[in-house]
């Protein structure tokens, strides 16, 4: 239904929601502090419990946001995973665009001029 192709953008639609269900479900569970502690204690066991596929496991291990999105991750749920690693949406933006955090922030400021 989304005919328009927007560069650098993945529409989180039904196909992506199906593909990413396990990954997003795991990330959703990280709203709970007890679950976050459990993830930190044994990441592999925590991922196994949610039956992540190989692509999703590799993307989580690599802390690679673009790969997590490719594996079906939705940014709102991924933000909860990123929070465990102390990363906010500006860190995620810098990583995805291959920029330093300072350069990413400067790009945002420049958008106002």
């Amino acid at each position: 239904m989304m005919q328009l192709k927007i560069p650098g953008t993945t529409m989180f639609d039904g196909a992506m929601a199906r593909k990413g269900y396990a990954l997003n479900k795991m990330c959703y569970s990280l709203n709970s502090a007890a679950n976050r502690a459990e993830f930190v204690r044994d990441e592999a066991a925590y991922c196994a419990r949610y039956r992540l596929n190989e692509q999703q496991l590799a993307a989580v291990r690599a802390r690679d946001v673009l790969a997590l999105i490719e594996a079906g991750g939705n940014i709102y749920y991924l933000a909860k995973l990123a929070g465990i690693f102390g990363l906010d949406v500006q860190d995620l933006g810098a990583q995805q665009t291959g920029m330093s955090l300072d350069a990413f922030k400067a790009k945002l400021v420049a958008a106002g001029h």
Partner: protein, 281 residues
């Protein structure tokens, strides 16, 4: 009868909640943003709302992809905030108005908006941050609340045209409520921003400025965009413009802007606030 006093739309970026928690309002980064709110407070003091109907989008606190309603209306006597996973302090609970909620639900369904009703509903930063921005000295919160949640997580999202009509039906619902309550509509989210993908950091100042004008004078122009066109112009999360369009729908007819502020950037977002009143023209 109930009265709609106006509509306030505002950004709801989590970083704003963190800045409030840390008292950073006067820091150079934050000052141009927070300076946009004292005129809103003055308007609210004058308007004296009893109830805020808050049109927002959940980001994975109350709803998951297992069951994701397109439109949901809270019908609880109290709404709790909770841990969203990335460190925003939780707020005091918000009083509800279940009698008004059920009236709104009855009226919306009669108008063919088949909403999901929620007698338990956690409200996330998209609800709590605007409440903190509008009533910075709360709690106690000076208004009762009715949450109206729109899906902006998983496409297909409702169209801009549909959200505008939802707002119109919401306005009709409120104005047919027999109790003498004073109601402010609050729309939250936006303006242009994109968090995900290689296009992360996308901001579109000229489109935002166009929206701020058309929300006042020609909201129907905005309803002609498809959601894909809105994502192209405003970014994947800039689609939160849908809540502003719904809030505009609730005051119907001609409107005038009492106040607006626009500032780039707050975190990854072009942040805005707009206060609208109904105009007689």
């Amino acid at each position: 009868m109930a009265t709609i006093l106006g509509a306030i739309s505002t950004s709801h970026v989590p970083a704003i909640g963190k800045a409030i928690a840390r008292g950073l309002q006067r820091e150079p980064y934050w000052q141009p943003f927070f300076a946009g709110y004292p005129p809103v407070h003055a308007w609210l003091r004058e308007a004296r709302p009893d109830v805020a109907v808050i049109i927002y989008n959940d980001h994975g606190l109350n709803f998951f992809l297992d069951k994701l309603p397109t439109f949901a209306v809270g019908a609880a006597s109290e709404y709790q905030n909770a841990d969203e996973g990335w460190g925003l302090p939780t707020t005091a609970p918000f009083p509800g108005d279940p009698q008004l909620s059920w009236h709104v639900i009855e009226s919306l369904v009669a108008d063919e908006f088949d909403v999901t009703t929620c007698q338990e509903m956690l409200v996330d930063h998209a609800f709590t941050v605007p409440m903190q921005l509008l009533w910075p000295s709360a709690p106690p919160w000076p208004v009762r609340t009715v949450p109206v949640c729109i899906n902006t997580v998983q496409h297909p999202l409702p169209s801009a045209a549909r959200c505008y009509k939802l707002g119109q039906a919401l306005g009709k619902a409120i104005e047919s409520y027999p109790e003498d309550v004073r109601v402010v509509i609050v729309g939250t989210g936006g303006l242009s921003h994109q968090l995900d993908g290689r296009r992360a950091g996308f901001i579109n100042k000229s489109f935002d400025e166009q929206c701020l004008e058309q929300l006042v004078d020609d909201p129907e122009a905005l309803t002609r965009y498809s959601n894909a066109e809105l994502v192209e112009r405003a970014g994947t999360q800039g689609i939160e413009l849908l809540m502003w369009i719904a809030a505009r729908g609730a005051i119907a007819g001609h409107a005038c802007a009492v106040h607006s502020n626009y500032h780039i950037p707050i975190s990854n977002t072009a942040a805005g606030v707009l206060v609208l009143e109904r105009a007689t023209r």
